[in-house]
Amino acid sequence: MALSDQAVLSLSPGFRFQWEPAQQTHVLLFPEGMVKLNASAAEIIRRCDGSRTLGAIIDELGHSFTGDTVEDDARSFVERAYERGWICEARAA
C-alpha cells in the first residue's frame, strides 16, 4: 500500500473537493457520501490535483505549516486517504 514519493496524486474519479459555506469547512463529495476536512487535510487534498508528486506535496506543506510532526502527519493522512479510495495515483512521475 505504501506510496512512493514519486507517485503523482489526484482525486479519485467521481470525487470533488470544495468549500461549504454553510458548514464553514472544506469537504470531499463522492457518490452518496461526504467527509468534512480539517484545515491541514484540506491543504493536502487541494494539492492532489494530478500535477504534484507526494514528495512535492509534503515539501509544500513543510513550508506552509510549522511543527515537528507536519511531515509524518501528512504522510499518514495521505496513506489513509489512499486506502479509503479518496485519492489515487494519477501516473508515475
Binding site: P13, G14, R16, Q18, E20, A22, Q23, V27, L29, F30, P31, E32, G33, M34, G85
Partner: protein, 390 residues
C-alpha cells in the same frame, strides 16, 4: 444537554436533499418505497418550483442531492435541474432504473454536470429481474451500465434483496464484476410503502440472510481495492434499530413530487402530523421551525426505554414510521429493538413470513401487489393508514 454544562449542539443541517421528481414509473417493483397512495399526489412541482427548492436547500447547507422518483428520467426538465444544481455546488446523484436512458440523454446529463448515477437491478438475470420489475428492462439496464462506464462515471449498482433473490447474491456480484462496478449496494428491502404490503412474500428467513452475508463478505475480501461492497441488513433481524435517516430532521430532507417536505420516505403515513409544502412555505422555516420537522427531533420526545438508553445518541430511537406502522404509535420505541415493549410484533412478522416460505418458489409471486396506478387507486389511503400487524 445544557443542564450538563455543555453548549447545545449546532442546529442540524439538511446535508442530504432527496428530490423525488415524479411518482410516475414504468416499473412496478412490489418493494417500492413510494407511498401506496402515490396516485393521490398528482400535482407535481414545476421546473421553476424545483429550482427554488434547490436554491433554498443549498442555502441551508444541502450538499448531496439525489434525483429520484418514481423514475426521474421521465421528467424532461431533468437536464435543466441537474445543470442548475451543479451550478449551485451540489454533488448530483441520479437514482434510476435505467429506463430509456440512451447515449444522447446521458450525454446531455453529463454536459449538464451530473456527478454520479446509481443504477438499480431487481434480479441478477433477465427472468427474475423483469418479473419483479413488471417490465422488460433487464437488457436495457445492461446497456445503461455499459454506457455509464463509457462516459467515465463511477458505477454504483444497487441490488435490492428480497426472499426470492437473496440466495443469488453471488450471481449479483458476478454481474457487478462483469459490468465493472465500483460500488455495489446489496440493500435488503426495508418494509414501508409497497414493501410493507408485500412483507409476507418478501421478507427472507434468518438462514437466508446469514448465508447471503457470508457470500457478500467473501466477495468483499476478494475484491478489496477494486469494488466496494455494502451489505444493508433488514432491520427486522437486528437487535437494535437502525439510525433512521440519522435522526428525524437531523440530516435528511426529502421533497416529494407534489412539494411536500418530509424527514424521510415514509413519514406521510404518520397521522396527526401536517407536513409543510414548499409551495406554501420556505424551506428554512420548514426545516427549522415547522412543527412536523420538530416533532421527533432530538431526544426530548422519547419515552422509556429510549429516554434513558445510552444508545439513543447512536440510533435516535430507531424509525418513527416503523413504530407507527407496527405498534400504532409513532412515539413508541421502534419495535425492531429487542428492548421495545412491542418487540413481539416484529418476531410475529418474522414468524408469519417464514411460515409463508413453505409456499413453492415457483408460485411465490402469486399475491404480490405490484406498484402501479391501478393498485394505488384500489388500495388508496385506508390500507396505508391502517397499521399492519395489529
Amino acid at each position: 444537554m445544557s443542564e450538563d454544562g455543555f453548549a447545545k449542539p449546532a442546529p442540524p443541517k439538511p446535508l442530504w436533499l432527496l428530490a423525488e421528481l415524479t411518482y410516475a414509473c414504468p416499473l412496478q417493483c412490489p418493494y417500492c418505497s413510494n407511498p401506496a397512495d402515490f396516485d393521490h399526489y398528482r400535482d407535481h412541482l414545476t421546473t421553476e418550483e424545483w429550482e427554488r427548492v434547490l436554491v433554498q436547500a443549498r442555502t441551508l447547507g444541502a450538499a448531496q442531492l439525489g434525483f429520484s422518483g418514481g423514475e426521474p428520467l421521465i421528467r424532461r426538465d431533468l437536464e435543466t435541474l441537474v445543470a442548475r444544481a451543479r451550478a449551485l455546488g451540489y454533488y448530483t446523484n441520479l437514482i434510476t432504473s435505467g429506463w430509456a436512458l440512451d447515449e444522447a440523454r446521458l450525454g446531455a446529463l453529463k454536459e449538464a454536470g451530473l456527478d454520479h448515477i446509481q443504477l438499480s437491478f431487481q434480479g441478477p438475470q433477465q427472468q427474475l429481474n423483469d418479473r419483479m420489475a413488471g417490465a422488460a428492462v433487464f437488457e436495457q439496464k445492461l446497456a445503461v451500465a455499459r454506457l455509464v462506464k463509457r462516459f467515465g462515471y463511477p458505477m454504483v449498482l444497487n441490488f435490492v434483496l428480497y426472499r426470492e433473490n437473496i440466495d443469488r447474491v453471488a450471481e449479483f456480484l458476478d454481474l457487478a464484476v462483469e459490468l465493472g462496478a465500483d460500488y455495489v449496494e446489496l440493500a435488503n428491502t426495508q418494509y414501508y410503502g409497497w414493501a410493507l404490503l408485500n412483507r409476507d412474500r418478501l421478507l427472507p428467513t434468518r438462514q437466508q440472510l446469514e448465508r447471503a452475508e457470508l457470500v457478500a463478505n467473501e466477495y468483499r475480501r476478494r475484491l478489496a481495492g477494486r469494488m466496494k461492497v455494502y451489505y444493508v441488513v433488514p432491520d427486522y433481524y437486528e437487535d437494535r434499530p437502525k439510525a433512521c435517516s440519522n435522526g428525524w430532521g437531523n440530516f435528511f430532507l426529502l421533497v416529494a413530487p407534489d412539494g411536500t417536505a418530509l424527514p424521510c420516505h415514509a413519514a406521510r403515513v404518520i397521522p396527526g402530523l401536517v407536513f409543510p409544502n414548499v409551495r406554501q412555505a420556505n424551506l428554512s422555516w420548514i426545516w427549522k421551525e415547522s412543527p412536523a420537522f420538530n416533532r421527533f427531533r432530538g431526544f426530548d420526545w422519547m419515552r422509556e426505554p429510549c429516554r434513558s438508553c445510552p444508545e439513543r445518541f447512536k440510533d435516535f430511537g430507531g424509525c418513527r414510521c416503523q413504530a407507527y406502522l407496527l405498534a400504532g404509535d409513532a412515539a413508541d420505541t421502534d419495535p425492531v429493538c429487542s428492548l421495545a415493549p412491542r418487540h413481539g410484533l416484529v418476531l410475529e412478522a418474522i414468524r408469519r413470513a417464514t411460515a409463508a416460505t413453505g409456499v413453492e418458489a415457483a408460485v411465490s409471486d402469486t399475491g404480490l401487489i405490484f406498484r402501479n396506478v391501478h393498485n394505488s387507486r384500489r388500495l388508496t389511503a385506508p390500507l396505508e393508514r391502517s397499521p399492519l400487524g395489529r
